[in-house]
């Protein structure tokens, strides 16, 4: 009896201890995320500025939920790619990298393929083209976080006054730009960049694409020194006649400013730039703007630029980084990010559920045009050499707009550079 009694008492104690342990573990799982993640710190290579601000504002939620700390190493747009190339190729410095989609192919050598992980992860809510932005040669290297699209932004009130409809073709755009230009009143038809800024060559590329030209053809050669490429470039140069006089020194924020101060009636701009245009404290034209797809010629080719999150192969914290990547591209973060007060930019969401949410439309008036553009988006060439090709394209377009090169010479030089870089 005694033995049985002792045994029964010990069993009860063990059972009680097991119950307490189970409760402790369960409580820790519920209250503070997964146990393995407790105390983990991951280092993120991030774009400095507005997107970083949005992330930092929401990060405590993630850290509370998972117990994973995120250390942010932010760099400005001009330096981020260089920093990632150096870091990924030389040391295990980062656990997660925030990348613009053209960088996926060049950096793929150093990125962890996520295809297997993504199989157990519901991706059906992502806009398919946004998800595709994180893939290269059939392998998913990154999850989409912030899809951006070039949009045509126009002054609804001015178009209504003239009884005009927003342009859908480049010819209509040229006609509208001409109609709204009055240099004596410092009023101009369109704001674009024409400096050596990266945006300049991207504007010209959209125009060339829509005429049927390709920066790199299917057989891997330069393809802008063609009638279609020439036509696209000519339209871009023609547009500059109806742009503010100092457009050759414009960069991304200058295009915004031209719209916000009422100087320009239209702009081709990335959607993220449109958010501050709708901020009444920063914009004289808030509530007066309309948004539509960039014009078409023989085809509709709005340019896609999706910011994505990937994990370096050499990261020692891949599981924690995956948890972060999922959260960063989640509906929860997307809803919070799209409502974040605007300053100079915006973060969108790659998820249909967020982009179609009524609250999102209230904070991002251009979201319908963004989603429509995203569904038919055209991507820049997915090549390991693309950063080199785009840089050469940027410099040569800058020479063209600065008058260093004629159009003929510029088109030849763009193709020659592309062929040299690709070894053709």
């Amino acid at each position: 009896m005694k033995t049985i009694h002792r045994g029964s008492s010990g069993a009860r104690r063990r059972a009680g201890l097991a119950l307490v342990l189970t409760l402790v573990v369960a409580a820790s799982l519920v209250a503070g995320g997964t146990a393995w993640a407790q105390g983990k710190t991951i280092t993120l290579s991030m774009l400095a500025g507005f997107k970083e601000d949005v992330l930092r504002a929401n990060l405590p939620e993630f850290e509370k939920k998972t117990g994973i700390k995120v250390q942010i190493d932010a760099a400005p747009i001009g330096d981020l790619y260089k920093k990632q190339v150096l870091s990924l190729s030389s040391a295990a410095r980062y656990d997660a990298v925030f990348m613009d989609e053209p960088w996926i192919a060049p950096l793929s050598e150093f990125l962890l393929p996520l295809t297997e992980r993504a199989r157990g992860y519901d991706t059906s809510d992502f806009v398919p083209t946004a998800l595709a932005a994180g893939a290269f040669q059939g392998i998913q290297y990154a999850l989409p976080v912030d899809p951006n699209m070039q949009l045509l932004i126009y002054r609804k009130d001015l178009f209504d006054q003239k009884g005009m409809k927003p342009p859908t073709t480049w010819d209509e755009l040229l006609a509208a730009a001409k109609a709204f230009t009055d240099p004596a009143k410092e009023q101009y038809g369109i704001a674009v960049t024409a400096s050596s800024d990266i945006q300049t060559c991207l504007y010209m590329l959209v125009s060339m694409w829509s005429q049927g030209a390709e920066l790199v053809t299917a057989d891997g050669k330069g393809g802008v020194n063609t009638p279609a490429g020439r036509k696209g470039a000519e339209i871009f140069l023609e547009l500059l006649k109806f742009a503010p006089t100092n457009v050759r020194s414009y960069t991304f924020p200058d295009v915004n400013k031209a719209i916000q101060t009422g100087q320009a009636a239209m702009a081709i701009q990335w959607a993220s730039g449109a958010k501050p245009m709708e901020d009444p404290t920063r914009s004289q034209v808030a509530g007066k703007l309309g948004y539509t797809l960039v014009p078409k010629a023989v085809r509709q080719t709005p340019m896609r630029g999706v910011w994505t999150i990937g994990i370096p192969k050499n990261s020692p914290n891949q599981d924690a980084a995956w948890e972060f990547a999922k959260w960063f591209s989640s509906k929860e973060f997307g809803l919070a990010a799209t409502k974040f007060p605007s300053a100079s930019s915006a973060i969108h969401s790659p998820r249909v559920s967020v982009l179609q949410d009524p609250g999102t439309k209230a904070s991002l008036p251009y979201v319908e045009a963004l989603l429509a553009s995203l569904r038919v988006a055209k991507e820049r060439p997915r090549l390991r050499e693309f950063a080199d090709i785009q840089e050469h394209f940027r410099i040569t377009t800058g020479k063209l707009t600065a008058g260093e090169l004629t159009l003929d010479a510029a088109l030849k030089e763009i193709d020659a550079g592309t062929n040299r870089i690709l070894g053709k």
């Binding site: 190339v85 050598e109 020194s249 950063a387 600065a402």
Partner: protein, 290 residues
């Protein structure tokens, strides 16, 4: 024996210099012989002088050398003349000038990137204060940073703004220690102020001038931060110096090519130094300045 023992004390210093100066240089020269792209770490290969041969026929490098030469010459000449002029002015016994010496030195204490960003705002075609006042006087709104010629002038002016205080400081210090009796003797002999300047001040200051011009010349040749912030090398390649080109190539991960550009820059700076020293010291060797 004593001399040999004394030389031994130089060894640690020499080893230190060798380690921090010569070894990285040799390593850089060695890397310049490789085709090494960071994005293809598995295909690094020795190509001998391949990078140099490629650069020898590269029109972008030729253009960058010309831009670097124009920028360096323009900046150094402007800084030298203004710095010398200010040093001569401030060496005069005017009391009211003394507090201004500190003000004159202020640009030296401004972080180059901050200074360049400030100038970017000043040069802004629509919002900048410079064009605002020019426009008030009917002079329009010059595109300071987007016109190829004006952009080169603008970066030269900003470099001058930043480093004229250095030139002033070095030459002012030199003028202050010149022996007064030489000038008094010249005055007794009836020499004019110009003759005293030409035949006493300039020869006695020539070494100091040489040092100042050499330091600034090498510095201007390697200028990056001001150009990066103000124009990024544009418009087109109008302000793309060799350093900007190297930075671009390095940023794209082409290590061999970037190192070859670095070695070429080193060679050009060495030639520049040699020519400057020869030009400035020639009268000294022939006894003309003495």
């Amino acid at each position: 024996m004593r001399a040999r023992g004394g030389r031994g004390f130089l060894l640690p210093g020499l080893l230190f210099l060798f380690a921090i100066d010569v070894v990285p240089l040799i390593y850089s020269a060695w890397l310049s012989l490789y085709d090494w792209w960071l994005l293809r770490p598995s295909s690094i290969r020795f190509i001998g002088l391949g990078n140099y041969l490629r650069l020898a026929t590269d029109p972008e490098l030729r253009r960058a050398v010309v831009v670097t030469g124009l920028f360096t010459a323009g900046a150094v000449v402007l800084e030298f003349l203004v710095g010398l002029g200010l040093a001569l002015l401030f060496s005069q016994p005017f009391r009211f000038l003394r507090p201004l010496r500190v003000v004159l030195l202020l640009p030296l204490f401004v972080v180059p990137v901050v200074g360049a960003t400030m100038w970017r705002v000043i040069f802004h075609p629509d919002m900048g204060p410079l064009n605002y006042y020019l426009n008030l006087f009917g002079l329009g709104r010059p595109p300071w940073l987007s016109d190829p010629t004006l952009a080169l002038v603008s970066i030269t002016l900003v470099d001058a703004w930043r480093t004229i205080p250095f030139m002033f400081l070095v030459m002012y210090a030199g003028i202050e220690v010149l022996p007064a009796e030489l000038f008094e003797a010249a005055a007794v002999d009836g020499a004019s102020r110009w003759q005293a300047f030409r035949h006493i001040t300039v020869p006695l200051l020539s070494y100091i001038m040489l040092v100042a011009v050499l330091i600034r010349g090498m510095d201007a040749f390697r200028e990056l931060d001001i150009i990066y912030v103000l124009t990024g090398g544009g418009p087109g390649t109008a302000t793309q110096t060799i350093q900007m080109l190297s930075y671009r190539v390095f940023g794209l991960g082409h290590m061999g090519l970037a190192n070859a550009l670095g070695i070429i820059t080193l060679g050009l700076v060495a030639v520049l130094c040699y020519l400057l020293m020869r030009a400035i010291l020639r009268p000294e060797r022939s006894g003309g300045a003495a």
